[in-house]
Every structure is written in C-alpha cells, then in structure tokens.
Symmetry: C3
Subunit: 311 residues, 3 copies
C-alpha cells in the first residue's frame, strides 16, 4: 500500500520544529512527489496562540501572535507548483483540552473557515478540509463539532471533501509528555466498534473520510481493528484511510523515525483490509532525505525499495 | 534585538555532549562571530567531579577527575584569536543541591577564583565572571553567596564585571529529568517583583548584570515580566540582560533547538523592554551550522534573515 | 584499553532504529575494523514478535513477524568479508518480563540454538554465543537458564565460547521508559560480591566470559566494583570483559552518545582492573561516523586520538 498523502506538521504540538524556510519546503515537496505523494494536509492552522496565516480574527479574539511567514500561502503556492492537493486543517484553540467545552472550537472555526476560503479558496490546489481535532472515543461534543464544521466547510467550498484522523484508544494511547509507553486500560475491538459506530452515524454526511492513526495498538492487533474500521466506513458511506505514523511509539525518545519493518506491517495491514488511501504523519520529520533526523533518509530509501517491489 | 553572547555548555548538566575537539570549537567561534556574538561565557568550570581545567585543588578536595583537555585554556586562546570576551563560570560542587547548604559552594569557589585568576588572568580575552549558580526565588543562601563571591571576583581582577542568570519560577520551571512540561504553582508577576527586589538589593555592588533565563514563562507573559525585570535592574543599578534560550521547552524531547518564531518573540520582548544585551543558552548545540542537531543550522539561517531585516 | 567488540543492536529494545540497508552495514563494519574491533555480537536474535532471521519455529510458536531481511545471514556474510568474529545472541520472548517465569525462555531457545546452528553454523565467522538475557542480582531463575542454555550452545557447536552481559544494580539502574535518572536503593559492593559469587558459581562451565555493563554505577565507584568483578571472574575461571556503554545515562534524552571523557574513565578503570577485553554497546548508533547521531562521529574521532596515544 503506497503512501499518497502526508501531514505538514506546522503548527507542531509535540514534534520539535526544523526551522525550514521556503527553499527547504520546496525541496521537500519534490521529495514527496518522488515517492508518489499527491496530497499535503496542514495538520492545523493554529494551536493556541501560534498560527500559520496572519488571521486578523484569531489575533484579536484569541491573542494569537503575528506569524513571521504566511505558511498557508506558501504551502498552497508550492502545492500548485508541484501539482499536489492541499487540505486545510482547522484551528485548535486549546480551550477544549483545558475546559472540556467544545463550543469555543466550533465558534472560532466557523469564522476561520469563512476567512480562509475567502483568502485562499482560489488556489487551484485547495482541495479539501481536515477537521483537525484529534479525538478518541470519549471526546465529549466531538460529534456535534465535526458535524457542524464539516457541513460548513463543504457549504462554503462547493462540497470539497473533509476528513478526520482520530486515534484508537489502544494500549499505546499515552500522553507524549509522559515517561511511559503503554497503559493498562486499552479498548477492546468490540467496544471500539460499538462506540465508533455511534460517532460515524453522528458525523455522516459531514465527513467524507476517516483516517485512524495506526500507532496506538500493537502490530498483531492491526488486522482485527482495521477490518472493523473498514466495515464501519463502508456501512456509513465514508472512505477508509489509514494514517500511517512514520515515527516510533515504542522508544523512550519521543519521537524519532519508525523502524521500516513496523511501517511495512502497518501498511500491509491496511492493504489487506482494503483501505482506500494511506497518508502519513508525517513525511518531513520522519521520512524525508533532508530531515534533521538522519534515520528518516534511510527510511525513505527502505520505503522506496518496498514500493519498487510492489510493482 | 541581536544576540551578542552565548554560553559554552561545558561541563553540561542536561545537554548531551557533542564531543568536539579544538578544530570544531575554533570553527564554532567563527560561526558565532559571523552573527555578531562577541562574548562567550563558560557555563561552569566544573560540576561535581567533572572539571574544565586541571585544578589541583578541586581534584584533591572534591575528588574531581583529571580532565582530558584544559578547556579554559582552549577557550581563552580561541577567544583571543577571534577577538571575543570570555567570562569564567564558577564551580558547582553539587553539594547545595544535595544538602541545601551553600557554604561548600562559597568555600570551593573562594579558592577557585584565586587559582583561576592566577593561571588564566593574563589572557586578553578574560573579561568577566559568571556566578554560575542557577537560582530562583527560593534558593536559600543565594544572596550571601553571590555577594561574597561577586565581590571576590571583582577584587582579584581589578573590578571585572560579574553577572548571574537565574530563572523565573514560571509555569515551565520543571526539572529536566521529569516527564512533564509545566507545573501549576507558577509565580505571579507581583510576587516575582517583590521577592527579586530583595535579592537585587542584597547583591547590589557585587553583581553587575542580571540575565534572567527567558524560557520558564509563557510567550504572552514576556512583556509584563520583562518590564518588571528592567525596572528592578534600573532601580538597583544593574544591567538588564536576557538569556534567550535557543532550545524548546514545549516538546517531549528535552531538549532540541527552538522554533525560530518563539525565539523571535522572546528577543522582541527584550527589545521592547529596553534590555541592554541578549545572550543565549546556547549557540553550539542549538544555533550552530555544525551542531549535531540539524535543526540548529536552520535556526542559524532564520536568525540571520531576521537580523538582516533589523538593519 | 581498546574496544575490540561491539553489539549489533538489532532487534532494538530502546534505541530507535537507523533503518540501514546492507550498504550501510557493510560500511559500518569497515569503520569498526578501522579502530580495532574484531568481534560483533548480535544483541538478540529476536524480541517478542520481532525477529532477525526467518525462523519457522518462532513464527509458529510465538506469532513472530516474517522479517523483511535475514539479518543473521547478512551479518555473518559481512563478518566473513571483514574477517571478524560473530557471536549469536539468543531469543528473548519477553515472557519472563511479563510473568517472571524463565521456562519459556529456556524452551524457546533450546529450539533456536539447534535451528540456528543448523542454518548458520557453517559460516567461518560464527564464533560464539551471547546468552542475551540481561539480568541483575534479583533475576529469578537466571542461573538455571544460563547454565542450561550455555551448555547446549557449547554442545551443539563443538564448544564455542559463551558470554553474558548483566548489569550492576547501581544507582543508575532505572527503566529507560522512566523520567528519572537515578534511584536510591543502589547495591553496595559487598552485596554485589556476595550475590554475584553465587551466580558465578551456578553458571560455571556454561559461561566463558562475563561482561558487566559499566553504566549503572557512578564513575568514582568503577575501580572498586571492577576489582571485585575481576576477582570473582578469576576465582570461577571466567574471562572478565567490560561492556563499555557508549551512550550517556546522565542526560534527560534517553539515549545519545556519551561524552568522551566518561568513556575514557570507564575504559581506564577496566584497564587498571586487568580486564581481558572491552566490548561496547554499541558502535553503530553511538560511535560510528555514519550514525544518525552526529555526536557519535565526534566520539569516534576522540576515541581514535585516545587509542593513538596509548601506543
């Protein structure tokens, strides 16, 4: 299964920045293209006070800092240049994580969606929306938020597609800023199916694809969970993507590039389950030949050998 | 605001060593010079049993290991060569951190100051002293230690300047060897002003400049805290420097180079507050083109673009 | 004291993979050779479901994944090519760590030893066995396991040598996936001698060399512990090796290359104690000029200067 999309991890949450300028990003889009990536997804347009484009609204309402560069503009120009599709990731105010109240996220993004479409909707490469809230089964209010925002995204943009990328509440679902690597109370595949069926039902029509993060369960659990995900996606009329994490969740350093063998296991599981598309989090830190993590360049080589063997 | 000084993080406390030899250090001083750094500060001349120069006294009294290289000599020679000022950082026995008793630090350094000035005081680049104890508001005995040692430094060296670099007890003031990134009981700006006014008062005359570390408070808190720091420095007749941390405190990996946007926010806040000088912790790991952390080279480039824009 | 052996850390437990292919490994064996390494030791042939060679048995009995490459074959071929000795590390099912029962480890490896000798015993470079369980003083059942497996290894292979590499239960003996760096209840040198004398006695005849990991005690404790280790090895007729860890246990990032000065202290202590051989964990991440950790290349240079000075 080939990876055809990648997140762009600006603004980052837990991955240190590489401090790239336009030149490095331009080159990186070229590297992506070389292994068949045709879709880039801005992971979020802002997180708390850091934002990717100079939104007058977010600066005023949320005290966001004026960004030194308009990353949205830059990414769209580069996507145009390299013939790629760009998905815009919504804003995350952080208020939900602090207060448990999803309303601020909805309110902020209702404005952001309009603002962004007005300013950037004319770019040829603007081809979809990423509802950026990363949720799992117990995220209160997520269904309403996804439904409201997904519908608005589609309404302003003549129906451009939307997708979400939640996590499976498996044994590796621990906080990045914790020392441990696993937890005891992992979800069973039965609970997963029951709870997510309700969520799928609730967001039907507003969300076109679901790309579960693939890193929170053990490798031998992949086939069972992936089969259920595909079954649910089919039932509720959505595309089933995999978000193949290219970083390693099994190591005390959080996080460096994944061992190729693990990535292969995950991609093979997605292929076996008949998934529609594979995207990754994310190319530029963990798979790029110019990544600051040199393991990434070797992963790029191993992955290239792998896809050459698929033909 | 331009960075004109950097710490030299040997002996390191929590940043892995790069294992550079003289050739790499020589080249690095050249890189520093290229972006306007004229001051290098040895972060400490020793920490527990590891020391930077072959001190007979420290080897005998504290069981320190014979260092493989005389780093003090090397740094002074390179500072002479590159036309830079060198500040010598005092010895940290670690006893204070173990026992809460500052007397050992005072006793050890009273000897070290004499020894070092005798051995290295003739170098042209030996231009100041760094009182290396990193303290915050609740460090018992710090006022007396700084006062005693600062006065001695100045007395032996014909009044060469001294400075300290404490931390603000903000929400990010957590141990490096802990998993978390923030704590709940952060200091308020009012408490900060009250407590530090007392400390400033106590070290007056013995300390010429104070360079608060800028990484323990949130970015939007910078203006308020920086204004208070400048007000206190002015009141007590000290220079107000900023210690602009070039590593990122917001990430689970402790620590990699900072996102340029964050460094810029901090430097801009120091400029707005009318600070006298900016130094960084530290160039060689986090901003150098030859750093083992390749993000550092990109930060160097972004920073160069920034200071070019200041002109 | 020169390092003449290194582990090959595949399958890794807590060090992120570099994703090297055959070309990189071939080059790395060359780098090893250049500094006098003549012995490579596969750290383990498998850990839980990840394995290094396509063992039909392990895939069937333990649900192991089919490995993308036969690493055992590749390492043996490269060891043949470069004129090095290869030690094979046994399989670790992980069951002991989960259940405290050593029997599964014994049962699995009794089969693995036969299988591996049958498939790979004809390689010229196959010169020994590494009993890969990393134990310390309180590892229940370890004596019987080492004794049983060591004897079997020797029996099938016409007496090829075996070794173990336990850790000293010192103050730095903490879990990799914990935030802290030290613990309070470290072993005393007297307890160490008493407890390990019993273990040595129990494995006598089945284990030819013991290579204690050198990183769990403080640097000034090295001489005392090393003297005891050598005394015990002599008493029970074993070779005394040191496993010189080339990564730094004193830093919050777990783990990057060690400061050269620390490695030197450890090697000097082994030399003073009259140790027979030094191996390292491990060259390819922490000392190689092509490591993803660029500090490793500088450590390689510092180490080269050091051994040049020994002549």
């Amino acid at each position: 299964m080939k990876i055809t999309g990648t997140f762009l991890d600006e603004i980052s949450h837990d991955i240190p920045h590489q401090n790239w300028g336009r030149e490095e990003w331009d080159r990186d889009f070229g590297y992506m293209k070389a292994i068949g990536i045709d879709t880039v997804i801005l992971i979020r347009s802002g997180y708390r006070r850091f934002i990717t484009y100079p939104s007058a609204y977010l600066q005023k309402q949320f005290g966001c800092y004026e960004p030194p560069v308009d990353l949205v503009k830059m990414y769209l120009e580069l996507a145009d240049k390299h013939g790629m599709q760009f998905y815009f990731g919504l804003y995350d105010s952080g208020h939900y994580w602090d207060t448990g109240n999803m309303q601020d996220e909805i309110d902020a993004n209702r404005y952001v969606i309009d603002e962004v479409w007005r300013q950037y909707g004319h770019y040829k490469s603007f081809r979809g929306w990423y509802l950026s809230m990363e949720i799992s089964r117990r995220t209160k209010g997520a269904v309403e938020a996804f439904s409201t925002l997904g519908n608005q995204c589609k309404a302003v943009s003549n129906g451009l597609p939307t997708f979400i990328s939640p996590w499976i509440d498996g044994k590796k679902a621990v906080m990045a800023a914790s020392a441990g690597l696993t937890k005891a109370d992992a979800v069973s595949v039965q609970e997963h199916e029951k709870e997510w069926s309700e969520i799928f039902e609730g967001v039907r029509g507003a969300v076109d694809a679901i790309a579960f993060q693939d890193g929170h369960i053990d490798y031998h659990e992949l086939p069972e969970f992936f089969a259920v995900n595909k079954k649910m996606a089919d039932k509720f009329g959505m595309q089933c993507w995999t978000n193949a994490e290219s970083f390693d969740r099994d190591m005390p350093i959080k996080f460096l590039p994944i061992k190729f063998e693990k990535l292969r296991l995950k991609l093979e599981a997605a292929r076996m389950a008949g998934y529609d598309k594979a995207i990754t989090f994310e190319f530029s830190h963990f798979m790029s030949p110019q990544s600051a993590y040199l393991q990434a360049g070797h992963l790029f080589n191993r992955y290239q050998e792998y896809i050459a063997g698929l033909k």
